[in-house]
Amino acid sequence: MKKIIILFLIISGILLALGTNRGTAQEKLTADQIMHRVDSRPIPKDLTAEMAMNLIDRKGQVRQRTVKTLRMGDDKQIMWFLLPADVKGSSFLRISYEDREDDMWLYLPAFGKVRRIASHTKKGNFMGTDFTFEDLGDRKLGDYAYRLVKEEKVGEKSCWVVESTPNKGVSTDYSRIVSWIWKDEYIPLREEFYDGSAALRKVMTMELTQLKKYWVPKRVLMEDLKAAHKTAMIFDKIDVDTGLSEKIFDTSSLTRIY
């Protein structure tokens, strides 16, 4: 009898330990805790990929961009446009910080110079897509107040629905963002962006794929409901943890040929 009780306790303990990190339905997490885990989830040290960006207008006409992108964690990203011919050679660099807004630069071959993207310009669209420069940046955890709205499924995946409201003094175009966070991996699968007048302006959905021990984006769709325009980012040739050098994330790299 004693042995059975001990065995039961051991098995229960193991099951409890496994369940803790997954945030199962049995564990009640606050919105802050959920978003903290989203922010600190394991991500690749570096990532390289080629990305096709399909810009789809209300008539269904598609303009395609092909981009080579490199990332170091969540803090640094550099992109070079490969296609079409009239944007080839353009490039973009983002560097994020804990304590201040992101630095962003854009290189356009037509001007031959690297241009810093000023704060007000970050609300503008990136190269004609439905992503603003702000969308490409890193949202700071401490810039928002969070509220757990409900739990819901996206496809077969169970999610927490968390509302993020910017704190006073935070410069953003969005009055709030509602995110569907996949419980198993703490990754947003869907986000709704509300504009200054509290109207739903954009919806982002993400499909993932597993590479080594990470879940990485395979397809990201951003729909601008007001403009009736969509941008689909399709990732290809993804590789992670290849030992990228940090020094490549510098403005001098923007004029390199790829």
């Binding site: 810009l55 207008d57 209300r58 008539k59 006409q61 303009r63 395609q64 079409p84 011919a85 009239d86 080839k88 201040r100 807004e101 630095d103 071959p109 037509a110 001007f111 031959g112 110079k113 241009r115 810093r116 000023a118 704060s119 007000h120 310009t121 609300k123 503008g124 669209n125 004609g128 897509t129 410069s171 325009h229 050098s245 020094k247 490549i248 510098d250 403005t251 001098s252 790299s253 390199r256 040929i257 790829y258």
Partner: protein
């Protein structure tokens, strides 16, 4: 000799890299552009019908090496004349410590919009000042290295080859100046082909908080010639003897960043000419040029920027000298004779994928009340196809540059296919 050595080094580098057979990509791209211009006050039907072909060859050899060449062919259907313009051909090497670029290249410096006192490394072809600045620039053989030193980037440039500004034909519609009694200018006397006559420059850049800063130095030639006159007793007047180039040093500084929702930038350059005592009436005194600008995005995504430009000539002793100095066109920096000016640009992108654009650009000569006004509309129905229609309008007093070009008001249409 200098040029031959430089080209030989480039050829050896290309050959040695190509022999490793790691070429991964070759790409040929470019555009075909038709440009129709009609002067609004001209009795001729149109002034320019130019077909321009741009050909750009890109090749990467492994992850660390790349090659690029760029050339244009333009054919003017009015004068029925064509010309090749070999702009760039260079080899790149990339590493964590240094990026190297060697060959014929165009180097762009400065943070301001269109008016860049510090952007002096490549002379320009000013025979058509309405052409895009990147096309006006003349490619030059140079060795450029970008060293990544902790939070700084140090750029070192050596230019063994000298080229000078191409000015509009003397007495032509776009000529900047005229000399009474002179029908044409002689060919300029070029600097001797010696190592001591090469040019060099460096720039140190760093990002601090939300600002980019850089400081730069240049030691080279003023790329616009200075006329040298001699007094001819039999004629009893000054006669143009020859056209010369003079050494100039530049010390410059620029910054760009944002304060609250406003983007701000500035560029300033001090040019120390050979006449640093202010004694030679035919060489420009040392002078200082600067630009300050700001931009803002209004509602409906309308972007606007405004800039102030000023030139200050030092060591002026009297009014006569001041008037004489302003007539000397020999000048790095902006190149065109402006003393104080405001510029403004307003732009809005619209349409699916923001493929279309409407823009207004203007320069106002504060000193002499001249104006350049340039509205344009760009339309891109498909990727790779674009149309641009615009006006270029001048006004002001005839004695000064913008007023002198009043008769050159024009309307134009550009059609471009990119491949």
């Amino acid at each position: 000799m200098r040029k031959r050595i430089s080209w030989a080094i480039l050829a050896i580098l290309i050959a040695s890299l190509a022999s490793r057979l790691e070429a991964q990509t070759f790409e040929l791209r470019g555009f075909l552009r038709e440009w129709l211009k009609a002067f609004t006050l001209s009795p001729n039907g149109y002034d320019l019908l130019e077909s321009r072909l741009k050909l750009e060859l890109l090749s990467t050899m492994g992850k660390k090496t790349a090659f690029r060449s760029l050339l244009y062919y333009s054919y003017d259907g009015v004068v029925k004349k064509g010309a090749w313009d070999f702009k760039e051909a260079y080899l790149d090497y990339y590493s964590d410590i240094v990026d190297i670029r060697f060959g014929k290249q165009i180097i762009a410096w400065g943070k301001a919009d269109e008016m860049n006192p510090t952007d002096i490394l490549n002379p320009q072809n000013l025979t058509n000042i309405t052409e895009d600045k990147i096309i006006r620039k003349i490619g030059l053989l140079a060795l450029k290295t970008d060293w990544k030193l902790y939070d700084f980037v140090l750029t070192l440039i050596w230019k063994p080859e000298f080229e000078y500004m191409r000015l509009p034909e003397y007495g032509s519609r776009w000529a900047f100046f005229s000399l009474p009694g002179l029908d044409e200018l002689p060919s300029p006397s070029l600097p001797e082909n010696k190592l001591k006559n090469t040019e060099w420059a460096f720039k140190l850049s760093r990002t601090v908080s939300l600002f980019d800063f850089s400081a730069s130095y240049f030691d080279g030639w003023d790329s616009i010639f200075t006329p040298e006159f001699v007094f001819e007793p039999p004629l009893g007047k000054l006669v143009l003897k020859r056209l010369l180039f003079h050494r100039t040093k530049m010390l410059a500084f620029d910054f760009a960043g944002s304060v609250s929702s406003v983007g701000i930038w500035g560029e300033g350059a001090y040019f120390r000419t050979e006449d640093n005592e202010g004694r030679n009436p035919f060489i420009k005194n040392p002078y200082f040029q600067y630009v300050l600008g700001a931009d803002y995005t209004f509602g409906a995504n309308i972007k606007a920027n405004i800039q102030f430009f000023q030139e200050i000539i030092t060591k002026i002793d009297d009014d006569f000298e001041e008037a004489a100095e302003k007539k000397i066109i020999s000048k790095l920096g902006l190149g065109i004779p402006l003393e104080q000016a405001l510029t403004c640009r307003i732009e809005k992108k619209f349409g699916p994928s923001e493929a279309h654009r409407v823009e207004i650009f203007g320069i106002y000569d504060l000193k002499h009340q001249g104006i350049l006004f340039q509205p344009k509309l760009s339309f891109s129905p498909e990727d790779s196809i674009s149309f641009e229609i615009g006006l270029i309008l001048f006004d002001g007093k005839k004695e000064f540059i913008l007023g002198r070009f009043k008769k050159n008001d024009e309307i134009y249409l550009k059609c471009t296919y990119s491949f």
